[in-house]
Point group: C2
Chain length 464, copies 2
């Protein structure tokens, strides 16, 4: 037995095992949005803030601050490589060539992540990223992935080599049981949306590679641009809340010309369709409540390809979206739904059965614990269905619960978020379809509610 | 990334991936018996025969005959190495030094496996090993391990790299669930007896290493001498049916002096205790039926350390063994039971609860599906208990059922046996405690039954 002496010596030499290996290691929609921001809103001053909503996990006791700084600093040192830029320029996204303009690609080559501010508060870590929107925005995913993986590494340090082997064996067995349930369901389509709260880069890469190889029909691709680039997969994504949040805040400050506060959510999409056509026209209606969004939407929006469902019960939200298209005289059967909020295998199958197909041999209604509407509403079963493709995140890329031998280490995912919190030094606000998920200052939230109303929102506070 | 080019090139150069790496890769009791045979019965002509009792698996279609011959020929080329012999001579077994005499060790250094005869019959493979008992006997375990692992490799060939990774992940997850159930049970003791029908050498090594590291109290050691040597573990074993089978056949041929057919089963043990004392005095009573064995046993046998239970229901057989000691005025509480017949975790825990200890916190009677007597016999619960240490085999080292992705490959263990079938060209016979497990020609079995009777045997044929 001849050991690889150079490798062994090198492994002991490592001063840093980097978490972010490439600036491409981000959600693809961040790059699509980046071009949008770069073109229309360069120089807008914003602040993104990363916080842990799972207060029971005292992050500052789990994540070493020095190591966190080293990882963040390493990410600041990254640049898009020549090969990556050539791929971005030459690749086809959603069937379209030349999505990224030569000028944007040229600018991307110069991009570096700006400084961060890290503070400890009550056992938690808080990261702030301030600066020009087009420089700051990429931090979101990289910072989330770094903090998430450092927490994972803290867990690893509790385990010996055999425990680690069992940990991954169990996680792989668990993943495979999901693959088995997702296999052989006609017409099923889903994508990986799990970069931000993944267990680790290498696990993410393993999961995506396995799905691509073993579910080639159903697995439509990954939101992770680097994995799409490295493994020849489709890059998947739509657009995020940060666009309407920033544009609405700008409107509120009177800096969006004629566009009013309530109109800014549509102005985003008007500009988006100038830049991107066809399949990239998938709207995200829930920033200030989906019901008001659809009620007041301009008619041209009904020509869009589909709707992403991110905070309302997707069985309710999906019907609401299809009703919108029908009310505007468009065929809902040709539209696409993209559920993306906390999905797991049950929910993917239930939503597919409800919106995308019938229950298939080998599956029974009992498989679909969440498919309330499917079971309750006889009427719905006779209405036309549509296209549906789910985006599954944390439950795919960070599902290690019950895998740690003796529960010696805690790998349960935490609710880590990184959101735009300020625009030009004023608070940014999201209301969402769920009253409890609103972000922003209390005063600003009150103002936004007075503008957008609360039609169709869940978890409304009780008024006596 | 620098590849280990030499390793990669070497791996492609392999002409044989050997299954048996060492003559020590055998059950330790084979070596204890080998010294016994070498000292007392050298030159006795015997035949061992390997057959597959699971006729549904057509072994000749699964195991490539050319590859089988190459593996068997490779084993024939093996010799005990100098380090292995020094270890055998210098190590302590069951607390005793110098178990193996210098003359035996000197002879061992010259030992090589003799020729084999391989034939195909009805889609099956049959292997015969004929010659002097002391040269032939080791073939049993090596041949079983070779055929078993070749079947495993045939399964591997149906799977791609990812499938193989999932296969092992599931098998490890399954193994770990056994470790979790066996952990924390006070006084529990068990050993690995799984060499002969193991999945593969490397899997066997993994299982034993994991148990040794994670259940250091309960896991008492391995029957596999090579793994004991390599990993610094206790080598575990008693003695096997081949000793009484050959000695009884010799008595039947009038070649055992004054010793009659019925007495040969005790003559084995008389010679055994001349050679090995103390903890190695564990009798195997079931070759011709345990009930007649205990009824007719000479009184000195009641001084032995314990009893291995290998074919009778161990709850019944264990009580019968303890009753033997009690009837002869010895304290059953000081005796050892070694159940070794088709054990799994449930049975190990149930037997331990019944004979070795009380039901422990965290376990309930419902865990012990097999512990019929424990639940039924209120009387038994108040009788004194004894010492118990189980030997678990195939269910530990070859439990891959349900692990193959998509069930693409069949890794279910088969009933592969290699038994002594002839002694001096006359049939050898085993009756066992289970009527259906008898081996030998019909005529000889009938004769043996007339000698030994059928008291206490299970599965007696119905007589009308």
């Amino acid at each position: 037995m001849i050991h690889n002496l150079a490798k062994r010596a090198h492994d002991r030499n490592w001063s840093l095992d980097p978490i972010v290996r490439s600036l491409l290691d981000t959600d693809w929609y961040k790059l699509a949005m980046l071009q949008f921001i770069w073109k229309h809103f360069a120089g807008t001053r914003v602040r993104f803030t990363l916080i842990n909503r799972t207060k029971a996990v005292r992050l500052a006791e789990v994540v070493d601050e020095v190591e966190l700084r080293r990882q963040l600093d390493h990410a600041r040192g990254l640049r898009f490589t020549k090969s990556e830029l050539i791929w971005l320029a030459g690749n086809t996204f959603y069937g379209q060539r030349n999505i990224f303009s030569p000028a944007f690609i040229e600018w991307l080559a110069t991009l570096a992540l700006p400084p961060y501010r890290l503070v400890r508060e009550d056992g938690q870590l808080r990261l702030d990223f301030e600066g020009a929107w087009e420089e700051v925005t990429l931090w979101e995913i990289h910072a989330l992935a770094i903090v998430s993986e450092l927490r994972t590494r803290h867990g690893y340090a509790q385990l010996d080599e055999m425990d680690l082997d069992i940990l991954f064996s169990r996680a792989k067995a668990k993943l495979w049981s999901k693959v088995e349930r997702l296999a052989g369901v006609p017409g099923l389509s889903f994508a990986d949306f799990g970069t931000r709260r993944r267990h680790s880069f290498l696990w993410h890469e393993y999961v995506v590679s396995l799905l691509a190889a073993k579910l080639p029909g159903a697995f439509s691709g990954t939101s992770n641009t680097y994995l799409a680039y490295k493994h020849n997969l489709e890059a998947i994504g739509t657009n995020a809340h940060e666009l309407p949040m920033v544009l609405t805040a700008l409107a509120r400050l009177g800096r969006l010309g004629e566009v009013g506060v309530q109109e800014a959510q549509y102005e985003v999409l008007r500009l988006w369709q100038q830049m991107y056509g066809g399949a990239m026209q998938v709207m995200l209606p829930d920033t200030y409540g989906s019901t008001q969004f659809f009620q007041n939407a301009p008619d041209w929006l009904a020509d869009w390809n589909g709707v992403r469902l991110d905070s309302k019960d997707p069985y309710v939200g999906g019907k609401e979206a299809l009703a919108f298209f029908a009310a505007r005289g468009r065929d809902p059967g040709k539209k696409l739904l993209v559920p993306s909020d906390g999905l797991d295998v049950d929910r993917i199958l239930g939503l597919h059965a409800t919106f995308g197909g019938s229950i298939q041999p080998g599956h029974t209604a009992a498989d679909f614990a969440d498919a309330r509407d499917f079971q309750d509403s006889a009427k719905w079963r006779h209405e036309p269905r549509c296209r549906i493709s789910s985006g599954i995140g944390t439950n795919l890329t960070n599902d290690f619960s019950g895998c740690s031998p003796g529960n010696a280490a805690d790998f349960a995912p935490i609710s880590l978020v990184c959101k735009v919190t300020e625009v030009e030094e004023h608070p940014a606000v999201k209301l969402s379809d769920n009253y409890t998920k609103a972000t922003g200052t209390a005063e600003e939230i009150a103002y936004y509610r007075s503008v957008f109303g609360s039609a169709g929102l869940a978890e409304l506070p009780v008024t006596t």
